[in-house]
Amino acid sequence: MDIKIALAGNPNSGKTTMFNDLTGSNQRVGNWPGVTVEKKEGRLKGRKDVIIQDLPGIYSLSPYTLEEVVSRTYLVNEHPDAIIDIVDGTNIERNLYLTTQLIELGIPVVIALNMVDLVRKNGDVIDLNKLGQALGCEVIATSALKGEGSKQAAERAAQLGAEHKAGQMPSVFNGSVEHAIAHIEESIQGKVSDQFLRWYAIKLFERDEKVIEELGLDKSLMSHIEEHIKDCEKEMDDDAESIITNQRYAYIAKVVQSAVRKKRSGTKLSTSDKIDRIVTNRILALPIFAAIMFVIYSIAMGSFPFSIGTMGTDWANDVLFGEWVPGLFDKLLIGAGDVLRVPEWLYALIQDGIVAGVGAVLGFVPQILVLCLLLSILEDIGYMARIAFIMDRIFRRFGLSGKSFIPLLVATGCGVPGIMSTRTIEQDRDRKMTIMTTGFIPCGAKIPIIGLFAGAIFNNSPWIATSAFFIGIAAVVISGIILKKFKAFAGEPAPFVMELPPYHAPSAGNVLRATWERGWSFIKRAGTVILISSIVLWFLQGYGNVNYGVEGAAFQFGAVDDNNHSLLRYIGDGIAWIFYPLGWIGDMAWKAAVATFTGLIAKEEVVNTFGVLYNYAGEVDLMDDSSPIWAAVRGDFGPITTYSFMIFNLLCAPCFAAMGAIKREMNNSKWTLAAIGWMCGFAYVAALITYQIGGLFTGEATFGIFTVIAFILLAGVIYLMVRKNSYKEDVIRLSGKHTANV
C-alpha cells in the first residue's frame, strides 16, 4: 500500500522548494479538476511507496477561496495518511494559524519548522519540544533551501502515516466554546467519520455553508446546534466565526510566548526592508517598475543585441524550422534522382502542413522560455507581490488585478506567454478576466496586418499602428468595465489582502523547474491541438475544385495550386454573408473572410493569405511599398472597410496557440468558450459600429437597417458600461457569505 502525504503550508513558506527537494524529478503537474489551480504530485526520493501531494499555498481552511476549498476537500475526502505542515519559522504566528486547523482533522501532522537557518541567523530560539506539545504533533527543524531536515520530516510523516497515529488534539478554545463544540460533536456522532468529528463540529459552529450543505442535517438537529452557537455568541458578544478565529490566534500567541525566544532586533531595518524602502518608494516605485519591465521585455521580445529571446525565436524560425527540419524530411522522403519515396500529397502534408504549421508555433518557444525564466525570478524573489501593490489602484477599476499588467505587457510580444503568465494572479476572478482580455492586445504577429493596411491604404501613416494599440487597450478597458458587472465576475468578491513577503535570493532549482513546466506545456499543446488544426487548414487550402472557373465543367475534387480554387474559397463564399454588416462587400468579401479564417493559425497568416489570394507568391515582400499588391488591395478596400477589417482581426479569436493557452489556463471548456465567444462578439460589434457609423460620415456606407442596428449596439455598449453595478463588491462583502464554488 502506498503512503499518501499531503504537503500543506502558507504561501511563501518555502513549500515549493521543499516539494522539489523531496521529490526531485518524480513529479506530475496538472490542475485540480475543473479549476485554474495547479496540482502537483510526486514520489519521495528513495521511497517509491510514498506519494507526496502538494496542496496550494493557503493561509486558512475557510470556505472562501478556491485554493482553500480545493485543499480541504482533498484533506477530508481523500484523507491522506499524514500531513507535513510547513511553517515559516521567521513568521511563526501567522503560519501556526493554519496548523491549528490542520491538527483538527485527526490526521497525523508533522510540522516542518522551515527557514530555521534564518531563525538562527536572527538570533531567535524556538523550543521544538514545547511547540510540539502545545500543538499535539511532532516538530522537525528544516531548511528546504539548504536541504536540511526535509527528508527527516518526510520519513517521520511516512512512519506516522503507516501507523495512523494522530497526536492528542489540544484544547485551543476557551471553556464555553469547547463546551459547545463538545455538544455539537455529541449530536453528530455517527453521522460523520469519527476521525473528522472535531473538524465537522468546529465547522458547524462556524456555520460553514459548505459543511452544512454537505452534511444535510435535519432541521431539529440544526436548531439544536444553533442554540449552542447563539449562547456562545451572546456570551462573547461576537459572531461564531470571529470567536473561533480570535481564539485560535490567542492560543497561538500563548504558545509562541512560551516556546519562542525572540532576540528583538529593535528598530534596525532588515536588508529586505531596505530594498523595499527604495523599490516601493512613493516617487521611485513607478520608474523602477517601468525600468524592470522594459529590461524584461527587451531581453525576451525586443530587438536589441542582448534580446536572447528574439534571437532564439528568429533562429528557430529561420534555421531550425526553416532549413534543418524541412531538410531532414527532404532527406527522408526524397530518394535518389529526386524521386519521392512517398505519394506527393503525403510529402506536401508533412512539409507544408505539419512542419510549416507546427514549426511556426514552436518558433515561439525560445521567447516563451526566456520570458518565463525572467518572470519566475521576479516571482521567486518576491517582486511580483510588489507589482500588485504598486499597480492595484489602476487595474482594479477595470475589474483586473495589479498583476494583470504583466500579461498585458507580455501580450504585446506574444499572447501565448501573456495568457500563461496569468498564473501569478491569485484571485480566480481576476485571473479569468485577465485571460479573457489579454488577447485584445496587438501581438507581434498582428503587426504585419497593421503594416499592410497602413502602407496600402493610409500612406504609411504612423497613426494607424498607434490607433491599433489604443483599440487594443480600449478593448481591455471596456471589456473589464462591462464584464465586472456580470454575475459570474461580481459574484465572487476578491478581497485584496495580500502578504508582501520579504525579498530573498531566487532558488535556481525552483526557477528552472517553473520555466521548464510552462515551456513544456506549450510544446505539448503544439503536438496536439496545433498539429491537428494545421493539418485541417492545409487540406482546406490545398484541395478544391480542379475545374474551378472552367465553363460547363462539373465540380471535380482534387489538389489545386491556386487557393482561389480551394475548399477554403467555398468556405469563404459560404461565410462571407456573416461579415456583410461589417462592410466586407463585393469581391473582397470572401478574401477577407478566408484571411480571417487562416489568421487563426497565426495572425501573420492574414497577410500571407492576402499575398496568395491577390496572386502574389510568398516571396514578394508584402511590407515593401514597391509591391503591386498594395494597389490591388487599395482597389478592394475603402478606408473605413479597412478599419472594420483591421479591428475585427485584431480583436477576434486569437490564433490556435493562444486559444490552446486559454483552454489550458481556464481548465474548463465552458469558460474557454466564453472567453473566445466574448472576443469574437466584441470584435464583431466593434467592427460593425465602426463601419456603419464611421462609413456614414465618410459616405462609404449608406443609411440602412444596419445603421440602425449599429446605433442600437452602440447604445447597448454604453449602457453596459455605465449601468449600476448591482453586485457592487462592498454590498456583497457586507451581506451574506459567499463561498468559493469548485
Binding site: 501567522r94 480570535n246 490566534y249 489582502v497 462583502r733
Partner: protein, 73 residues
C-alpha cells in the same frame, strides 16, 4: 469611529472591532488582524492605495476601502 484607513503612516494602533461579515472579514482575520492586535501602518502605495501594514511580524497590503471595515483605537 476611527478606522485603519484614517491612521497616519508611521503610527501603531490596536484593532478594536472588525465590521462586516463573510469572505472579506474572514480573510482579514485569517491574516492575523483580530481584536486586540497591534497594527503598524508602514506606507501608502505610490498611487495612494493600497496601504502596507505590519501585523504579527510580517507585511500585509490592504486596500483603503477594506481598511475602512477595521475599527481601531
Amino acid at each position: 469611529m476611527k478606522t485603519l484607513k484614517d491612521v497616519k503612516v508611521g503610527d501603531t494602533v490596536t484593532v478594536v472591532k472588525l465590521h462586516g461579515e463573510g469572505a472579506l472579514k474572514r480573510r482579514i482575520m485569517d491574516m492575523g488582524v483580530t481584536r486586540g492586535t497591534e497594527v503598524f501602518v508602514r506606507k501608502v502605495a505610490p498611487l495612494g492605495d493600497p496601504i502596507e501594514v505590519t501585523v504579527r511580524g510580517y507585511e500585509l497590503s490592504i486596500r483603503k476601502g477594506d481598511a475602512q471595515n477595521i475599527e481601531v483605537g
